[in-house]
Symmetry: D2
Subunit: 382 residues, 4 copies
């Protein structure tokens, strides 16, 4: 037991589909046997997790009878104290969703998709989940001729509005969290980034019930700065949930262990989450490498939590370091919180001001020193 | 004169900084002499353009006295009939903006930036511009330690709110159009995509006065589908202006001639602009290649317009082709406009419906045929 | 029947795994039934193909008995006249290859991999294949700690040298073609580009027997210009085979129909293949979209060939156009074939030459006109 | 003074153009004054560097008279003891090189380029440089119509062959190091990666005199693993020199401080350089951020060296850790150095071996534990 040993109060959660991934990939068959959700619950509890999350279909991994699968899952939760803060629907594996779920060109598919979500919302509520993630991985197209994007957004909105009403009518204490992704498995996916999803939410009937579940790797697949994306989501009050993992830039969706991708970005992300007002679960949505065996899987689950806690400690040390504080002042970082116009000042006042622009341009920002301090805290040499 | 010869009613416009680019790049000195804005106006008029657009500093290319530069420019406009539908501010070239303009950590710089915009808004109004583009190319950071992103978004909002008030107070018939970009010249730029900017606009005081000016290459630098982005902007009613050019995926900002990047995407873009309700200028924001001489520059300007008109003709033929219409039906493209719930239908009704999911999954979408028809129209073999 | 109807003399070939792809992807189950290789042979023959290619395991799609599967395949070939110019080994689907085949850290796996290739080389020779493709899709790593890259290259060389000797000893008329890919399914794959594979080949014992099988999408996944890559492969005399398909830049491996990705690049590729001395098969390695049904699959196969033939016609017209020829001269394209030193000239002579560099810099290259002519040929408006 | 204070024996070198960069970028004017090479030499010596490197034109930053500039530079070198292990030619800034230098379509330009290199080779030899870098940043094209790539490679070879002969004739102790880059400032650059350049070198007349100068950011702009690239270069015996800096994936060329990009990759790079037999200079080719003032520049230079030394210490600790050694064995990393065939064993022997493939597939590789140990060493928590 050290400072990096996870405890339930750290609120670490895992999707059943993460540790349970059998490692089937586009070029390969499964390299691991199916995993009983009951075992996952027990193992994650032993490792110090706070909770688990699930797709409807995840529960059926080893027990095809839904009622028995749910019962066994509930007993495991009761036995371990693990929570289910979030649930979601699998709207992508079955070939019926090959052209999308809420936005399939085929209206019958759209109808089935909504019904599938409703059914799992009932179970989510029953298990105490308060966040319901919507990843529209199949909502998209490979060809611009094949999809009327504006109609698709209207259907997407229709579905979200209907599901919002459903939850309200049932009296469920559930909010929705949309998970953006730019591509894969579709050539282009609708709501490809944090920004597109935030904009979309503004058009919804129950916009206050809908926020985001951004995933590290998804934004990085578009070469975007994930920390910036999360900051903007927080600024809009819409960071409802988060998916932590690792990725190496624009390529296939890698779902590495948290911190095993861009570790510097992971540091600043933890720094933001811990100091930026986010109080939801720290949810890992990663895949244990296909090279690993059943026992390595639990090492990988543990590595996610341990890396997070290491980075959390570093964030504390970074913020407490007097040299960092001085460097922040020298780089005028805090000055950005100051309004540009003073209280009571008008644009007319501003117009009268005289600027020596060339003089102003000479001021250095000294970001180098600040960056280097951050790197040295990350590397543990301060 | 053929069907592809541009006419003013086609509403093609060019930034003065496009044809006037001297081809200074990060590794090279200028390869062309400065170009007099007056010459640009005359040459573009001869080529069939509708108007020109400008940054405040563009006017000073060969005449450093602002009043005389403006006068000469006005006379050229009057002499040719060219319009100025859009104007913008250069908030990036001078080193004073090295850490941003509206979101520089240095409050004095932020104040200067707002004043610089106000001054050019007056000129924009005087010249009849109704759109004012804001490209925040320097609003960003290279290090996550150096910039408080949430504070930056608040300052960005403060600036947009102040400028909105300024325009309203002055009674100008001007709307703002934010131009997103993911990176370059900053490591990461704020409001990196169409989506992020759309979301931001929703938080503004004068949100109805603020829309987008998306640029082809900027979205493609993030590997995003530009046609999807424009469709979403239209869906939100926020496509106020557009920057047309060419790019080859995630790399430096290439600003090629329109259609000289991803020509298939350019075809679907023209198809959407011509049929999707956009009625603003078709604005080219490209750079003539650095290899080219002063005379090649005008060939490049002409090539933008000609390519657009060629693609416009193709869009018409594509939409009129009976085989395309049949293929659209077979691919159920129109079916997506149909609400998923029927009028009067409830979720309770839907819950009672019986779905044979495996049967449903067997339906093919026949997108291949539709895509191939589009390709063949693009290639001119139908 | 038109000019774009494929005929066997066009030498179009398809992998059995292309039309036979059941559309299992990282997030989804199969959307199509397994396809009998015998049916594929007959359908491709009807469509005008020249031949088929196969992985050892492809033959077992519907007939698990290898001997019977091979017999049925041979009868179909005999019945249709289709050739098998190329064969290859599946060293990626079975979980035994999870850390690679020739370069797995596990020596037993490496031994098995070599044996699996040898066995299929015998069949390849028996079926008349003269090219044997090696795609090392699993040769790579997700972590720099886990793989000794120099040792891996030595093992890769060992395997290629052994297989080269095997083919020579058996007297097979077979050359090897290495297929580079940057990533997916591994985080980073060895020999990631055309360049890396060309360099590697130089170190092989039987280097003259080993060349390349570059794939359009693989190079484009690294943002590289495929036409440049093929030109360099030709320059080295190493273009032994080619995989044609479509891709939209750095993202997951899309394997679209040829021309359905970057169609401008496809045009210049066909132009190079037809005029650059390549005389091997035009091999399509694509995947029919997952949205498509069994019948759409054949439309997709036909679309590959038809698009190639369309682009071939355009290449002819482009090269024959007198305006293009003039533009090529004006852009000094042919001048590059002229040696920089004249025959008999020495560096000492060159040192004495006087250059007016600024004058020289004024010459424009007029590439704009040339590019636009190419675009207009592509679009079929010339 | 601590373990991370650089000393000349660490062999750190800097390009004059790095600290001397005035921060002119594609969208902005210089933010810093020109820097006297003499000052750079003195400051770098004080910081603990071993040497400096230069382009011919760098020397003229503040003293336009070449002879006086060279004299002043020599005196500074003599006064500080700094070495000049490498030199290079600027073949990209002047507009004469707008279509390339050795491969410009314009033969007169090609001739001038060769002469410019010869002249600076004389100075390089005089100053004791033993490596001469060739970065062909302008050798490339924006359009496939405009450049005959095979002819370009022949001209590239002609130039390298001539320069090789020149150096041999003069008796200079100089080797050439080609620096690959995929794009920027050209749309596509010839020899875009480590692999392409390695392949090219094999065709040269004086191939033994020509190796590589790979740059961290250049390979990462193509999404490639730089550590893999360096390992392959070492495997071929061609790592003659190296450019260290930082980059965040496929976007514009960022030239960050070493370690300020992908710091995990930087760790494995240092680990490879220190243990892999490279004994050349550790050369930094970075740009101080444009936000920084004249004094920040020296902080940035120091940060490069300090970060390298920190990572070097970590590499030592990682390799010495008994748990790491055990993990390496468990992951069979060393087993890859073992030949796949035993001494004396034949393929016929291998054919007789019996494999239980499914059994073999069950072995886990335990890479997770190894990766996590590496991460924890990097983060300084072991």
């Amino acid at each position: 037991m050290d400072a990096f040993t996870p405890k339930p109060e750290d609120r670490f959660t895992f999707g059943l589909w993460t540790v349970g991934w059998q490692a089937r990939d586009p070029f390969g068959d499964a390299s691991r046997a199916p995993l009983d959700p009951v075992e996952s619950v027990h193992r994650l509890a032993e490792l110090g997790a706070y909770g688990v999350t699930f797709h409807d279909d995840d529960l059926l991994a080893v027990e095809p009878d839904r009622d028995r699968a749910v019962d066994a899952f509930k007993r495991a939760l009761a036995g371990t104290g693990l929570k289910v803060p979030m649930a979601t629907t699998n709207l992508f594996t079955h070939p019926v969703f090959k052209d999308g779920a809420f936005t399939s060109n085929d209206r019958d598919v759209r109808r089935y998709a909504i019904r599938k979500v409703m059914r799992n919302l009932d179970l989510a509520a029953e298990l105490g989940a308060t966040t319901y993630v919507c990843w529209g991985g199949r909502e998209g197209a490979e060809s611009d001729a094949a999809k009327d994007i504006r109609a698709a957004l209207s259907r997407y909105k229709e579905a979200m509005d209907l599901l919002g009403s459903y939850v309200i009518d049932k009296g469920y204490d559930i909010r929705f969290a949309i998970e953006p992704k730019p591509n894969e498995p579709r050539g282009d996916i609708l709501l490809p980034t944090v920004g597109h999803a935030l904009a979309f939410i503004n058009e919804l009937e129950h916009a206050d019930r809908v926020g985001l579940n951004p995933e590290v790797g998804h934004e990085q697949m578009a070469g975007l700065n994930f920390v910036h994306g999360i900051a903007q989501a927080l600024w809009h009050g819409k960071l409802f949930h988060i998916d932590l993992n690792g990725q190496h830039g624009p390529k296939y969706d890698q779902d590495f262990i948290f911190g095993h991708g861009d570790v510097k970005s992971a540091f600043f992300l933890v720094d933001l989450l811990e100091n930026g007002g986010y109080d939801g679960p720290r949810h890992f949505d990663y895949k244990p490498l296909r090279t690993e065996d059943a026992s390595d899987v639990w090492d990988s689950a543990a590595a996610n939590m341990r890396t997070y806690l290491i980075l959390k400690e570093k964030s504390k040390a970074f913020r407490a370091d007097p040299e960092v504080r001085e460097a922040l002042v020298n780089s005028r970082v805090g000055e950005l919180a100051e309004p540009t116009l003073a209280p009571g000042e008008t644009l007319a006042d501003l117009e009268r001001e005289d600027f020596d622009v060339d003089k102003l341009a000479e001021r250095g920002f000294h970001f180098t020193r600040l960056n280097q301090l951050a790197i040295e805290h990350l590397l543990g040499v301060r």
